[in-house]
Structure formats: structure tokens, C-alpha cells
């Protein structure tokens, strides 16, 4: 029999070694860039001088910036609400029909979520094209007025929200469907015995049982939606007159396209407090699992 000294049998050395690449990645390409962003945000446009909080005071003084803040919040909240509602309705509908057909329906509804958003947004862009809009063709066929999808502020905002809902609702659908499937059927049978109708079953059993998933999925989605870039970038590029810019597209415009990297970094960093709060709430929900690993 081979006898190992106790120390060599201990696992931490191997364990730490296996985590080194992950740790390096997080440290070098997430943590360090974050602190570098904080540093960048305190420089002037040429990155030659320290200007303290001047970038932020400059932004605070700009009407456009406050518009971006309002638009981002409006965009995220409205889009997430509709994604959640459509996702829930679709999940519920799929869960109602016989099991053997469910996979097919689910598969069809996931397609928007599978196509890279930048590419599917191209399709929408074409659908919204002022002269050739196929949607407007349909509307006028039914004697309705053509809609200025991307040139009018209201409709442009409507359009980016619509596309975002279209891309994001399937994610909610998947999460809700998984949650619905995890509810034991006996609960519904017991409720039926107690005389509950379809709505009562939904409000007294389904909703409470999937409340946690609804919360987590919604928080996730708020983060992703708040940080959205692709849709606005392809559809409106922030126009008309900056009325559809979000944090990310505005930061791109300022930082990359106009070359004011410190100002762009400042705009991006603005998302951070909101994301941190959301992350904190999510983490509280997920903490049990992390704790079980500790």
C-alpha cells in the first residue's frame, strides 16, 4: 500500500489551481476594466489631465443625458412588463394543451430568441421602412393610416419596445413554463375538489407557486433590457433627435464614435448603481445556493 503524507491528500491546492483561469479572467477582464472605467471617467477628453467629477457634472448639465436616463428607464420598465405578460400568457397556454404538442409550439415561439438580435432587428428595420413598410401595407389594406414607425418620437420608442418585447418574451416563456411544470398536479386536483375555478386556480395556486421565478426572471430581464444596445443601434441609432437613445447606445455614440472615451465611460458607469441594486436583490434570492457551496 502506498502511503501519502496527509498534506498531499488535501484538496485545496488542486482546487485553487483549477480556479486560476476563472479567477484571472474575472480579475483581468471584469474587475480591472471596471476600476479602469472609474479612472477613465475622471480624465479629460484627450485623457491627458485629471478632471475629477467634471465629466459627471457636464452630463448632469446636459438635457440630452437626462433624456437618455428617462428613456432607458421607460424602455426597460415597459418592455419588461410586456415581456413578462406575454411570456406568462404563452407559457400558460402551452401548459394547457396536451403534452405531446407542447414541444412543437414552444419550439416555434423560441425562434425570435434564437436569432442573433442584431440580425432579426434588420428584419424589423425593413418592416418599418418608410416607403416599403409591409406592416403599413397591411394597415392601409384595412383602411388604417400608415404609421411613421421610426421617424416620429412616440412611434420610434414604440418600435424599439416592440422589437425588444418580441426578442425577449420567449425567455420569459421558457422560465415560466419550467416553473409551471414544477407545480405538482395534485395541487390543482385538490383545488378543484375545493371548488376552485380556472381563475381561482391561477391566482391561488399558479401565481404563488411561481412567484419566485417571476421575480428572478423579471430582475434578470430588467438588467438585460436596461443594458440593451443592438436594437436601438440597428433600428434608430438613437434618433429621431436622440429620443430613443439608451445608456449603451449613447455611451457608444459619445465614447467610440465621437472619440470622448472618458465621457463615454461615464455614461456607461451610470448603469452601474442600478445594476448593482438589481444584482443585490437577485443575489439575495440565489444566496442559499452560494451558501451551500461555501
Amino acid at each position: 500500500m502506498r502511503v501519502l503524507p496527509p498534506l498531499l491528500r488535501r484538496k485545496p491546492a488542486v482546487a485553487v489551481l483549477m480556479c486560476v483561469p476563472l479567477f484571472a479572467l474575472i480579475l483581468g477582464l471584469v474587475a480591472y476594466p471596471f476600476f479602469h472605467a472609474l479612472f477613465l471617467a475622471t480624465l479629460n477628453k484627450a485623457e491627458t489631465a485629471f478632471v475629477g467629477l467634471d465629466n459627471f457634472t457636464f452630463l448632469f448639465g446636459r438635457q440630452t443625458f437626462w433624456m437618455v436616463v428617462r428613456q432607458s428607464l421607460l424602455f426597460a420598465l415597459v418592455a419588461v412588463v410586456f415581456k413578462a405578460l406575454i411570456g406568462l400568457a404563452a407559457a400558460h397556454a402551452i401548459n394547457t394543451i396536451p403534452t405531446k404538442g407542447q414541444r412543437k409550439w414552444r419550439g416555434m415561439m423560441l425562434i425570435p430568441w434564437v436569432i442573433p438580435p442584431a440580425l432579426s432587428t434588420l428584419g424589423w428595420w425593413w418592416l418599418f421602412e418608410p416607403t416599403y413598410s409591409a406592416i403599413n401595407w397591411g394597415l392601409t389594406k384595412f383602411a388604417m393610416p400608415a404609421v411613421p414607425w421610426l421617424s416620429d418620437t412616440f412611434w420610434a420608442r414604440f418600435s424599439i419596445i416592440l422589437v425588444n418585447v418580441w426578442v425577449g418574451a420567449p425567455f420569459f416563456l421558457i422560465m415560466y413554463l419550467a416553473a409551471l411544470k414544477s407545480i405538482p398536479g395534485e395541487l390543482y386536483e385538490a383545488a378543484e375538489m375545493d371548488g376552485a375555478g380556472p381563475w381561482q386556480k391561477f391566482f391561488y395556486i399558479t401565481l404563488p407557486m411561481i412567484r419566485n421565478i417571476i421575480a428572478i426572471t423579471t430582475l434578470f430581464s430588467i438588467i438585460v433590457t436596461l443594458a440593451n444596445f443592438d436594437i436601438v443601434r440597428v433600428l434608430t441609432q438613437g434618433g429621431p433627435l436622440n429620443t430613443t437613445h439608451l445608456f449603451a447606445t449613447y455611451a457608444f455614440r459619445v465614447g467610440i464614435e465621437s472619440g470622448d472615451i472618458p465621457l463615454g465611460a461615464s455614461v456607461s458607469l451610470f448603469m452601474f448603481p442600478m445594476l448593482a441594486i438589481l444584482a443585490f436583490i437577485i443575489l439575495r434570492n440565489v444566496r442559499r445556493r452560494a451558501a451551500s457551496l461555501a
Binding site: A15, M18, C19, P21, L22, L25, L29, V30, P33, F34, H36, A37, L40, I86, A89, A93, I94, I97, G107, M108, M109, P112, V114, I115, P116, P117, A118, L119, S120, L122, G123, W124, W126, T131, I174, M175, A178, G197, P198, I216, I223, A227, F229, D230, R233, V234, A248, A251, F252, I256, I261, S268, L269, M271, L275, L278, I282, R289, A290, L293
Partner: protein, 291 residues
């Protein structure tokens, strides 16, 4: 048993029937909503330029004969094949890097435990919540310092920040759900850490591995912001940016080619999902619901 006419029985059945009809109606509407844009993209990509430019006819169907000309042009006379190749190279390398990093880390975090492993697991989860749009500007500087600006290697460098955290997270979940008895059996059978990982953990958690791979693949294939910010030369571009920026140039009626490009570029992930959707959904939902 004699049939006792229960008053509620038929109403229960008709209740269910109505619920079913409502469900199908609902699904029908949703499917139309979800599928009409890709359908329209497909229709456009098959139309001749003349038909696309023509305003009178129904845009939703091909009336003037189907043409594959846009696809032909795309594959033979544009940079599209170059984009496709670049995207494939970037994606394959990123997926490989991601899987190695996350499988090793997940095995360690799920099973071995060391000082700070709990904190690191939480850190992984937090990193997953960091969107690409938060750090693209400082990463722009880092990519520049490393001399990777305007090459697709910049993407190989930065994409793992988007893929590794989630993949690690779901692999932790899958590895964690493997009963400890199985490691112990393998330990008694004489497996060392590497054998345990390669011969027991990875095969047993294969569904999770597939889910993580698809996730990494999708993210790397679909990202738009990083290549838009870091790559300017057509020869280095990947599909998303190449399709959006370069195919729009040129003649006015580029729509057919644009839609054909978008569809072709979207095809690999769509095909992948068609075959492996169940794994991916299982991985995704377990990652978020096991918490």
C-alpha cells in the same frame, strides 16, 4: 356502477374544452406575432429586386417568381463568406476556452471547496450579471494596449467575459447535483481528480455541458457591440457587424441581399437549437431556478 348524472360533470368537461380552445387561439396569435418577421425576411430574400422595389403588389408573398440570386451574390461576390469564416473561428475558439475554464472551475467550486470558494462562486454569479455594455469602453482601451484593435482576436479575448460566468454557474449546478456517493465510489475505484472529472463528472453532466456549450456558442455568434466597437476592417469583421454595416452599402435595393445575409448568418444557431433545444432549456432553467 350505475350512471348517476352528476350535474357538474359536463360543465367540468366543457370548462376544459373552452380552456383548450382559448389556449390554442392564444398560441395561434403568439405564433403569428413571433414568426412574421423571420417569415417576411425569408420572403424578401427570395424576391427579385424589381419585385422588392414595386409598391403595388402584396409584399407578404412572392408574386414574381422565386430567385436565389441574393444568396448567390452573397456567397460569391461579397465579403459574407469571410465574415462567416471569421465568426466561426472566433466562436469555436471562444467555446473551447470557455468550456475548459468553466468546467475546471465548476468542478473545483462544486466539489473541492477551499478558502474563499463560496465568495468566488458568488463572484461568478455577479459577473454573469455584468452586461457587455457596462465595460466595453475600458475594454476598448485594454484591447488597444494589447494591439488587438481591429482584429477578431480582440473578440476571442473579451467574449469569455460574457460566456464563462454563466457556463461556470450552470456547470456548478450540474456537478453539484451529482450524488457524492458517485465520487466516493470512483475514489474507491481508484480515480484521481483528472480521471474523476473526465470519466465520471463530465459524462454524467453531459446535458449540462451541452447546454453550456450552446450558450457559449450563441453568445459568441450573436454579439454585436464588441465587434462594432473594436473592428473596422472588412476582412476582420464577423457576421453580425459585417451584415449590418457592409451589406447596406451599394445600390438602393439591397434589401433582398440584406435579408438573405441576416438569415444565413442566423442559420447556425437556429439549426443548433432545432436539435439541442431541450438540453439548452433544461440548462438555462436549472441555472436560474435552482437558486
Amino acid at each position: 356502477m350505475t350512471a348517476i348524472p352528476f350535474k357538474t360533470a359536463p360543465s367540468l368537461r366543457s370548462n376544459r374544452r373552452w380552456a383548450l380552445i382559448a389556449a390554442y387561439a392564444c398560441l395561434g396569435i403568439f405564433v403569428v406575432f413571433f414568426l412574421f418577421p423571420p417569415y417576411y425576411m425569408l420572403v424578401t430574400s427570395l424576391k427579385t429586386n424589381a419585385e422588392i422595389a414595386e409598391l403595388a403588389s402584396n409584399p407578404w408573398i412572392v408574386t414574381d417568381g422565386v430567385t436565389f440570386g441574393h444568396y448567390e451574390h452573397l456567397l460569391t461576390e461579397s465579403s459574407f463568406p469571410r465574415f462567416f469564416l471569421n465568426t466561426t473561428i472566433v466562436t469555436v475558439i471562444v467555446v473551447a476556452i470557455t468550456m475548459v475554464i468553466s468546467v475546471l472551475a465548476a468542478y473545483s467550486l462544486a466539489r473541492l471547496r477551499f478558502w474563499g470558494s463560496g465568495v468566488l462562486a458568488t463572484g461568478v454569479f455577479l459577473t454573469y450579471l455584468v452586461p457587455d455594455t457596462l465595460l466595453f469602453i475600458p475594454l476598448f482601451k485594454i484591447v488597444g494596449w494589447l494591439g488587438l484593435l481591429d482584429t477578431y482576436w480582440s473578440l476571442v479575448l473579451v467574449y469569455p467575459t460574457l460566456t464563462v460566468p454563466f457556463c461556470t454557474w450552470i456547470m456548478i449546478g450540474y456537478f453539484g447535483s451529482i450524488p457524492r456517493e458517485l465520487d466516493e465510489a470512483a475514489l474507491i475505484d481508484g480515480a484521481n481528480h483528472l480521471q474523476m472529472l473526465l470519466k465520471v463528472f463530465i459524462p454524467v453532466a453531459l446535458p449540462g455541458l451541452i447546454a453550456a456549450t450552446i450558450f457559449a456558442f450563441t453568445v459568441a455568434w450573436a454579439n454585436f457591440l464588441y465587434p462594432l466597437a473594436y473592428i473596422y476592417s472588412e476582412s476582420e469583421m464577423v457576421l453580425t457587424v459585417g451584415t449590418v454595416t457592409t451589406l447596406i452599402k451599394g445600390d438602393v435595393f439591397h434589401w433582398g441581399g440584406l435579408m438573405a445575409g441576416a438569415l444565413l448568418a442566423a442559420a447556425p444557431p437556429v439549426i443548433l437549437y432545432a436539435f439541442l433545444m431541450d438540453y439548452y432549456i433544461a440548462g438555462l432553467t436549472s441555472g436560474a431556478t435552482k437558486g
